[in-house]
Every structure is written in structure tokens, then in C-alpha cells.
Symmetry: C2
Subunit: 712 residues, 2 copies
């Protein structure tokens, strides 16, 4: 679309030159025209006669509104009349609007009265844009009236949006059916409405000085969308451009952080219980194969390794320095690191912004920036990268290698990640503490994990984003290839309050986060446990090839609950075609239920599970299987687990790889069976019908938004 940017610039320059934050209605209209946003026919009248003439041209009824740069709340000023029906009424309205305006603010400049075509019919919607503290320019769409104001039924996207994204916003509200012609109304012209959203998003992107746009209401009919009222606000001060690092630059520094040849430990100690001792033990105990340089002015060696008084005494190159010294010494040591050419400083110490000491943190950041050192932390437990056998942390070593990279903003959550990983033997590539995020943040890590062949899935706990736009950019790239799970803490108003007192971060409005994380292709976990379970399960499940999910269950009762869970997780139970139904029926008792769930009934031998699972895997119309197992003497838990693993392995050997998840109902032996199934690539849980389905649902959410199912 070609826009008249010159016209917009002219209006904005004038407004800003005059030190105004708000545009007048005619200015707003001019901007809409320049960007092809339809507004009602109108004219500016400076006399009664002019008002009558304009109204006659437009056709009655008309709306009339005061135009004055000083009067923003026109209704409050008695400066609005609607439904003005004929010439006499126009005259009367003109007089009363002018009189009211003068009474409201005697010093206001009265430019005139705007006479506007009355719009009506169709559906009232709101289209807007705002400048979010985290994400920058975002566009918003909602239905007018009660739906937006009482039910908060509104949706956001990062600007700019293309036409498809804009159209997705129409489906992004709860009351979407209203736009499609619910209750016998005419469906709105979705393309015209999406066009207005797209144009607003382009406008605020092209002109960052526009801080807010409100088109409220926009009348959407079957043949178009017209903005009846336009409100535009601008920044009166300077608008600073965003500073960005190139992906190449980020990658180079992250590679050095994750695959260091030499690591120094500043504050390395022989005293058990001290952080500087724990870090040394973990580096050694974790099996790090590069060089370790303990730095300690008073020791000759630490944990059996030659120590140095200062980092400048070290002869070789140092990629990473892990800090285990009090906060007040950090800035000085970072300066030494800079002079030594260290690539990254891992700042375990606390006592910075999180305790109110922002100044000290700023000093450290300034020093690091001077030398181009990347900072991880401060206020973190450290980090793990298993392919490098690197455990640069005061926790305990972890060595189960696998595809999941996990990060956390909070140390407590980091410890929960570690404990959960160990107890479930979760294969991990990285665990990274981000803490205060004075420098390295989620987008740096996503940029690294995107190209890291050791990582197949990322899970992140975060409380805020320092640069939401950089996060979305990085997330949109990686999620095309690998799922990213995000646990956003401070989801709720109450939670957001706690986030704010904890980190000093301004927690964004959750609805903005929710919509934009989805736009970024991220799978949001509703809670900590779900984040961990998704992280554990997603790498095991192959990407499904389509939406057809089939439940095979030995317990009808589980089938019902698994169906409930499918709806909850946004999964589609396949409508089984008659020939396939017939094929399943061959294996199950006559009183079993085919259809979907397929209820093979409880008393069946292993061969029935085996035959039906095999059929489910081999029929290529089925894309995913959910198994419901019921513990019986005829088919004990481990028999079920082994036969299932075998059938799945046989199918894989034939090149058939579908997601298979299982819910096991039975006595405690089902726990061992679930462990066995997990070890064989099948996501399986005891005593729950919800969890396995939720993990499958998460895989589908990712696959859909990555465009891997052929449908978004």
C-alpha cells in the first residue's frame, strides 16, 4: 500500500512544533485520508449557513462537533450533537455548540463546527494502537460497547501487521461470531475491517512519534468500515530509535559463552559452603574439558587447580569469567576482565537492582559495554550447557544430555527446573539463570538456541521482557523450527503487583503479553508444572502431520475424560470414516464402542491393545494417538508398556512416526510403566487423563503456528 507520508509528516510536525500532544479532529481526518482509512463525509463550518450547506450536501441526519485544539473532551463541553435532522436543527445546534464551548473554556480557540455524516447500522468496533512499555507499537481490536468495556474482549498484535494477521484479530475475540452475522445480522466486510487495522498499524510504525490512535467507534457493515471518531496522540518530546544487535553479533558472543575453551572463577575458594567453592566443584565435577582458572589473591591452588591472584596474571585467553565475589567488587573485576579480553561475565552475586541498588548495576553494565563484555545476571545461580559439560553454577552438576534448553529469571524456579529434571531424567542441553537481565536476555538465548543442533525445544520462565520486540523477532525465527514454551509470571493483576515489587519491572498487561506471545509462535504454559512437563514431553513427540486425533482406551470412563481433555487442549477428535471403523471393530468385542474414543473395553488381552494401536499408527488418515490404559490381570501395566513401545518402534522402523501419548489408570505398577514408556518416546502419565493430552495439545499449538500442519 502506498501512503501519503508527506501529508502525515506535515500534520505531525505542525502539532509537535506547537507543543500539542493531541490532534484535532480535522488533523486526525487528514491523517486517516493519507493512510486510506475511511472516515465519514464531513466538512468544517465556521458559520450557521455553512453548516446548513454542508449538512444538505451530506444528507440528513448529521452529527455536529466543536473543533478546538483546547477542547479534547467534546461531549463534556456540550460540544457534540447527534442525529441533527434538518436545516433548522442544524442552525440551532450550531449556536448551542458554540455557546457551550465558550462557556466551558472562555479562552479556547474555536476553529469551527465539524458537520459529519451520521453513520449507523452495522457493528460498532474499536480499532486502536498504543505504545506498550515492553513491545512498543501494538494495535488493538475489539467490539464496541459492553463487550470491550465490561468483558474486556479485546485483542492485540505487534505493529505492523499484514492483512492475514489483521484478519486473525477478527477471530481473536470471544465474540467473533458477532462479526460473522450472528442473530441474523449481515456479516461484516472482514477484509475492509482488516484493512483498517493494517493501515493503523502501518501508520504507527512509520511514525513512531504517534503514541496512541483510537478509532472508536468504527462502523463495520457488509460493504465497508468507516472510522466515525478519530483520536490521535503524539509524543511531544524526542523519540529515541531502538538499539539493536545483529543476530551474527549475538551469535558470536553466545557461542563463546556456551562453548568456552577457558573459564575463570573470580572468587574461587577452598572453603566448602562458599559459592566460589561450589562453582569450582561443579565445573570440575561436571567434567568440563576446557581450562579452569581459579582467581583468588590468597590461595596457590583451589580444589587442586593452580590459582591466580588476579585475572590479569593468567597467560592464556579467557572466554568466560564466573563471578563469586560480593557485589561491591564486581565493577572493578569486570574492568580487569575487559582489559584481559574476557568474552562474558557470569554474575552470580546479588545486591544489585533487585535490592534497589540500580546504580551499582548501571556501573557494571557501563564498564562491560566499554569492553564489549556480555553479562549474564547478576543475581543468578549460574548456567549449565551439557554439550560442553559445563556446570558453571553453585547448585549441583547435571549431566543428562538431551534436547531441552531451559531458562529462568528467578533462582527458585531454576532450582525447581534442576530438581524436576533430575527426578524425571529429563534430557537437557542448557539451564540458564537470567536474574536481573542487565544484558543477556531471552532473545540472545533464543538466537543461540535457534542454530544450536543440541537444542530441540526451549522452555523459559520470565517475569518481564526488557525488549519485547527483540524477543518476538527471535521467537518468530526459532519457533518455525523448534517449539518454545514460555511461563510468563505475573499473569494476573495480583501477580503483576508482586512482579513489580520483586524486580522493579513494570509487568505488562497480561492480555498484551498473551496475544503477542501467541503471535510470536510461542506456546504459553499456564503454570510452572506445565512448563516443566511440556519441556519434558515436546522433544519426544514427533511433529504431527495433521489434526486427526484418535483415542484408544481400555476404560470407557477414561475415554470420556480424555475427550474432555482434548476439547480443553484444542484438539480435534477425528470423525472415523466407516471403513476405518469397520477395521477397528474387527479387533474389539461387539459391545465395545468404535467411533472415537475407541473403547476396546477393560478385559481385553495384550493382543487387542496391540492390534488397535498398530492400526492407529498404520492408517495414514490418523495423525496422533491418545491411549487410555486400564490395569487388569489380563494385561498388566508393564505388559502394556512393552507392547506399546514395541508397536511404536516397529512403526518407526517403517518410517511411521506419530505422536503417541498415554494415560495409565491402575495400581502403583503403572508408575514404572509410565517411566518405561517415556524412555521409549511415549509421553505417559499415571493417575491423570489431563496431562498427556495437555502435552499433545502444546505440540499441536506449536505445530499449527509454525505452519507445519498446513493450517494456521
Amino acid at each position: 500500500m502506498a501512503f501519503d507520508t508527506a501529508a502525515v509528516k506535515e500534520v505531525l510536525d505542525k502539532v509537535r512544533a506547537e507543543g500539542r500532544a493531541a490532534l484535532t479532529a480535522p488533523e486526525g481526518r487528514r491523517i486517516c485520508e493519507a493512510y486510506g482509512i475511511p472516515t465519514p463525509g464531513e466538512g468544517l463550518a465556521t458559520t450557521e449557513d455553512e453548516a446548513v450547506s454542508i449538512a444538505t450536501d451530506l444528507g440528513f441526519p448529521v452529527a455536529m462537533k466543536i473543533v478546538s485544539p483546547e477542547i479534547l473532551h467534546k461531549t463534556d463541553a456540550g460540544g457534540v450533537e447527534i442525529g441533527v435532522a434538518d436545516a433548522d436543527a442544524v442552525r440551532q445546534a450550531y449556536r448551542s455548540i458554540i455557546a457551550n464551548a465558550k462557556a466551558y473554556d472562555a479562552s479556547a480557540t474555536i476553529v469551527g463546527v465539524q458537520v459529519q455524516q451520521m453513520l449507523g447500522g452495522g457493528q460498532e468496533v474499536i480499532i486502536g494502537a498504543t505504545t506498550d512499555g515492553t513491545f512498543g507499537k501494538v494495535v488493538a481490536f475489539g467490539l464496541g460497547g459492553v463487550l470491550v468495556e465490561v468483558l474486556k474482549d479485546i485483542t492485540f498484535r505487534l505493529a505492523p501487521v499484514d492483512r492475514d494477521q489483521a484478519r486473525s484479530m477478527l477471530d481473536g475475540i470471544q465474540a467473533a461470531d458477532v462479526l460473522k452475522g450472528a442473530r441474523g445480522a449481515e456479516p461484516v466486510d472482514a477484509d475492509a475491517l482488516a484493512g483498517v487495522i493494517e493501515r493503523v498499524s502501518a501508520l504507527v510504525t512509520d511514525f513512531p512519534e504517534i503514541s496512541e490512535v483510537d478509532l472508536n467507534p468504527v462502523f463495520a457493515t457488509g460493504s465497508g468500515a468507516t472510522a466515525a471518531d478519530v483520536r490521535i496522540l503524539v509524543e511531544t518530546g524526542e523519540v529515541a530509535p531502538r538499539v539493536e544487535r545483529s543476530p551474527e553479533e549475538i551469535l558470536a558472543s553466545m557461542r563463546r559463552l556456551m562453548n568456552p575453551s577457558a573459564v575463570a572463577v573470580i572468587g574461587a575458594s577452598n572453603e566448602v559452603g562458599k559459592i566460589g567453592n561450589s562453582v569450582m566443584r561443579n565445573l570440575i565435577g561436571g567434567g568440563f574439558e576446557g581450562t579452569i582458572y581459579p582467581i583468588n589473591p590468597k590461595a596457590d591452588e583451589v580444589e587442586g587447580i593452580k590459582a591466580y591472584k588476579s585475572i590479569s596474571d593468567v597467560e592464556g585467553d579467557i572466554d568466560v569469567a564466573v563471578f563469586a565475589i560480593p557485589a561491591k567488587f564486581v565493577a572493578g573485576a569486570v574492568d580487569e576482565c575487559g582489559r584481559k579480553g574476557v568474552g562474558a561475565a557470569v554474575l552470580i552475586p546479588s545486591g544489585f537492582a533487585e535490592t534497589g541498588n540500580q546504580e551499582l548495576q548501571d556501573e557494571v553494565v557501563a564498564t562491560a559495554t566499554k569492553y564489549g563484555i556480555r553479562l549474564l545476571g547478576p543475581n543468578i545461580y549460574g548456567y549449565y550447557y551439557t554439550p560442553s559439560k559445563l556446570c558453571a553454577t553453585f547448585c549441583t552438576p547435571y549431566d543428562v544430555r538431551g534436547g531441552v534448553a531451559l531458562t529462568s529469571q528467578s533462582g527458585g524456579i531454576g532450582m525447581a527446573i534442576l530438581g524436576f529434571s533430575r527426578t524425571t531424567k529429563m534430557g537437557v542441553s542448557a539451564i540458564v539463570g537470567l536474574g536481573n537481565k542487565s544484558d543477556v536476555d531471552e532473545d540472545d538465548l533464543l538466537t543461540f538456541f535457534e542454530q544450536d543442533d543440541n537444542t530441540t525445544c526451549v522452555a523459559m520462565h520470565l517475569e518481564d521482557l526488557k525488549d519485547g520486540r527483540a524477543f518476538v523477532d527471535a521467537a518468530q525465527r526459532i519457533t518455525k523450527k523448534k517449539p518454545v514454551v514460555v511461563l510468563k509470571a505475573g499473569r494476573t493483576d495480583l501477580g503483576a503487583r508482586a512482579a513489580s515489587s520483586h524486580t522493579g519491572a513494570l509487568a505488562g498487561d497480561d492480555k498484551v503479553y498473551d496475544d503477542i506471545l501467541r503471535q510470536a509462535g510461542v506456546v504459553r504454559a499456564p503454570g510452572l508444572n506445565e512448563m516443566l512437563e511440556y519441556a519434558r514431553g515436546l522433544p519426544l513427540l514427533p511433529t504431527p502431520k495433521g489434526e486427526n486425533v484418535v483415542i484408544i482406551t481400555g476404560a470407557g470412563g477414561s475415554g470420556v475424560l480424555l475427550s474432555d481433555a482434548c476439547v480443553e487442549a484444542g484438539l480435534s477428535l477425528m470423525d472415523i470414516p466407516p471403513d476405518l471403523d469397520e477395521s477397528f471393530r474387527k479387533f474389539i468385542p461387539p459391545f465395545g464402542a468404535a467411533g472415537n474414543p475407541i473403547d476396546i473395553t477393560g478385559g481385553e488381552p495384550p493382543s487387542t491393545y496391540e492390534a488397535t494401536i498398530r492400526l492407529g499408527l498404520e492408517d495414514d488418515r490418523i495423525h496422533s494417538l491418545i491411549l487410555g490404559y486400564w490395569h487388569t490381570i489380563v494385561t498388566p501395566p508393564m505388559v502394556f508398556a512393552k507392547l506399546t513401545a514395541d508397536v511404536v518402534a516397529q512403526a518407526r522402523a517403517k518410517g511411521i512416526d506419530k505422536p503417541v501419548v498415554a494415560s495409565l489408570a491402575g495400581d502403583t505398577e503403572v508408575e514404572q510403566a509410565c517411566d518405561y514408556l517415556f524412555e521409549h518416546g511415549i509421553v505417559a502419565y499415571p493417575y491423570t487423563t489431563e496431562k498427556p493430552v495437555a502435552v499433545l495439545g502444546a505440540k499441536y499449538r506449536w505445530a499449527r503456528s509454525a505452519g507445519l500442519l498446513g493450517q494456521v
Copy 2:
């Protein structure tokens, strides 16, 4: 309220005598008048002149509608005109309505034209009543237009409702704020609106032959509520009264089932792997102290106990007969049981209604009814009652006694209950399989558990209710004293479909279930795992004395997630008063955050946890504690667990007993710490911030609806 029931009876008798299902508008109006439900001023005109005269009396504008018993869809017939503005327009409307009606249905009886006061302004709402398959008469309330039709924003209650219950319906919709004057509108007269709901509920209760009432729209203003359109439908056939057992009768039979002196096993067997053998072994192995009579025509003894060829050969009394014989022999054996005076038959066999063999099931029920035998099942795993050391099941014995009684409609879910109980050492009073529920159902068991001192909490998995009203009656009684958790399977449309194919039960609309279960005081679990965790946790938590919840956490990150979870669970974080804040601050580092969550920070020694938890317990303005633990070297997991258990025990010794739940973030040692805490009455989970808060939330939901917090 005194109603003119005679007037209603006269109308209904006439309608039913004429074989009509629908009342005319004047009939509907007469019924509304008899029950004090305001309707617009109106009159019936049979001539143009009459129409003009009525309209003039009412005041213009008016609405005009055809009155004809044959024309139900008046708008379709061109039989409605609204906004009729003056006398001429009334004449014209009269003519065209009559002409349209004749054209629509030449044979229709035209009674005349109804001339009605036009209502407007205020808020359009819908008030109705319907006859639900499960619950009988229910009343419904919602907002008119898009909100009800697109967003399904509607709420239900079992009829009759009192004024308070009716008012709770106004708050039971999402868009409740609309009624309170959102967007500058006048708040509606809530009492008037509740009055209409109450009257409609009384009407359908007094006259069960009314199958449906639709007041749509009702105009609610600041000073009243008027039903603009009334639609009433009646049953044309006979309306059978409900058959009820008295609680005393139910109790007597349930006590005999749960505390039998003698149990017969019909089909007892020595052959390992047979159900008749498993049941015998479990009765013996479970330690049942009453008499066991194996019944087997071919054995002299079974599992070392003297066997009988037939139940009639047994000399002593038999309270319970457990059936382990094929379906086809069941009816005959029940007849023998009847002649022997057996109290209850526990029907393990399948092959009845669940496989389509309803006839066989009906025959068994008829036989049992003849003798007054209560039937459990068929198609079940049996039942456990630990106070009687009774394991009458083919599963395995379970002997951890405790306060939870669990029931399940499905065998698979029963096995999950058993496995979960065993692995978590959950203290159980009963586990009961209900299967096809040919006789004994949830309300029988609730009636027993209500007065059973061994039971402090009930958890039920159900797919349908045979008699929703009996369930609500029983639930309303017991939930005043003990929490009842319900997992209703078939929650979703998809789930409901599966329920229907599984049990042949007509799964009710979930919204009706949801509202009415809440009205019954039941805590609904969203899934199987939650049902089990609530069952495990609720009996451990004392009933909170108020809404003030405080989070004490060693990890700020957990604090944020715990706050999120509180909002999710409907809990209120206490606003800490300044003096209490000051008291907490004495124990925590200066950079820790008081307020709520209270962030004691991560590096603190056991004494900090101890002092803050003690303060939280001892200050009587605080009603519940949520603890967030972060694994450190200074305060390892078991140290935290023991100190917490000690502080809680000390408080209990002083008579202070508050709910305490904990989330433990750390390495795998936190799992052992959680087990320890559970054993000491503190609900604690590793690697999740959501679960402990959800359990506390469930306790609060119950306590609120039982009126134990002084607020509903």
C-alpha cells in the same frame, strides 16, 4: 408470597384439556399476573376502534401482535408491529396484522390483536425455566442479545430459588457489571429482577406440568422489571411424581452395606486369576472380621473357608452378597438372595446396560425391588470400607485408613484412585464402584457419608446423575459439614458425546451441571488429578476462619507465581496492615520485600523461615499461609520441612490451627521434604506453585459455600 394458584390451574387445565402445548399471550399474561410477574399494560382489541382506544389509554407508541392459538411464530406470520406511533398507524397496523395472519394460515382462529405498551430503556434480560432431564425444573437468567446468544453468558439454578439465590444469579453471569450500571447506565433494580426469577421458579415448582417458561426480553430498569414477552409451554401428557426414599430408609440400607456382619461371595473360586478368587483373597487379606460365606456348587471350601452350594444353604444371616458370576446367572441368584433376606447385592459382573443389555439389567432390578435388596453396580470393581476392613473387590486390598471416601462410575478411574491412594499413602474410609448405578447411586452414598464419623471428605467421579434433585438434596446437607469434590466427566460437548456412547446416559448440558453443582455446595474438580489431589489435601487442612491469605516465600520468583495461582484459585491476598508489615520486616533483610507476598529472600537461615511462619500463624488477622521454599545450602529441604512442621505443631498446641500449604522449589531432596510435610498436615508439592494453591482454593470454595467464612 401468596400466588393465585387457582387462576393458574384454570388456565393450565383448559390448555391441557384442549391438547395444546403452548399458551397464548393472554394466557401467559394471566399466569404472570397470578404470580405477580409484571407485564406491560395491554389490552385485547377485536376491532380497529378498540385498538385505537386501548392504545390511547396506554400512551403511544404501542406494539401490536396477533392473538391466535395456531400462530406461535407471530413475527414469521407478519403478525407483529412495533413502535406504532399514533391512532392512524394503529388502524393501519390492525388491518395489516389481520390480513397477514389470514394469509399465513387461513384456518387459524383469530382471537384479536394484542395492543401493548412499548417498553424501552433499561437493560434487556432473559428469564426462563426449563425441565432438565437430570435436575427437573431449573430457572435460567442471562442478558439479552449477543451476550446470551453468542457468548452463552447464562446461569442456571434448581427451582425453586429464594430471593438470595435469585440475586446470586445476577452475579452469576460474566457480564454482571452491566446490571450494576457499567458505562454510566442506571443500575437495574436487582431486587425486582430477583423477584421475577423467584416467582418464575415458584410457578414451575407449583405446576410441574409447565415444561418451559421464556420471559424474553424482560426490561430491567432502575425501578422495576417487566416481562415484555411471555412464552409458556406445558406437558400435554401425564406428569409423574418423583419417587423418593426417606433418608432414614437409605441410611439403614447403606449401614448394612458398609458394616456387614456376614458377606457371601457368589461364585467364590479357588482358581487364581478368577474374579471369584480375587474377591475371596481380598476379603480375607484385607482382614474382614465378620463371617465370609463362599458360595460355589462344586467346592467344599474356598481359600480355606467352608463353601456352600447355594446361598439358601447358609444358616446365618447374610448382609451383603458379592456377585462373581456371569451376567446371565445374576437375576436368578438375586432372587435366591431375596428369599434369604440379603440386604445388598454387589454386582461386579458386566454384560448389562453398558453392553446394550438393558433388559437383563431391568430384570435384575425388578427382582431386587421385589425383595427390597439394594444393588451396587452392576459392572463394577466392588467396594472398600476401611473401618470395617472390608475389601469386597477383585483389585487388591487397601488398608490406609483415613477420612476420604471416594466413588467412581468407571472401573478405570477406580483403579487410578487405588494406585494414587497407595503411592501417596492417602488415608481412605471408602472406595466405591458405582458402574451402571442400577440402584445405589451418589445420593445414597452421600446420605451415608454425611453421618459417617469415619469420613471427613468425599470425592466422586461421575458421568451422569440418575436423579439430580436427590443428589442436590443430599449434597446440600452433607456439604454443610464436609467437603464434597466432584469430577463430572463429559464436561465438554465432545466429552458428552463419549459419555453418551459409553453408558447410554444422556449427559446433561455442562453449564447446567456446573451451576447446579455449585448451588449444591460441591467443589468441582477440573480433572482427574485435581480430584485426587483435593481428596488428599482437603482433609488435612483445617477450615480457614477468613479470607486473608498470606504468602511467605524465600524466592521472589515463586512469590509471583504463587500470587498468579491465588488469583486463579479465587483467593484474596491480604492487604498487610502497617503494624504487621513492621513486625514481618524485623525478621527479613532490608532488601527483602514485605507486603504480600512477603519475600524473605533466598539466602536466609532456618530462623527467618521459622520466625515469619510463626508470626503468620500467631497473628489472628491472617487466616491461611502459603509458603514458597527455595532450596539453599543454608536451609536445606528437610530442615525447612521439620521447622515448618514444628512451628505448625506448636501453634496447634496453642489452639491455633490455620491451613498451611507449601510449594518447594529445589533439587530432588524437596520430594522427601514434601512427603514429610504431608505427613505433618501441611499440603506441600515440589516443582509446582499451582497445586498447593489450588488445593487451598478448593478448601476455600467449600468453606465459603458452607457459610463457614461468614460470607457466601
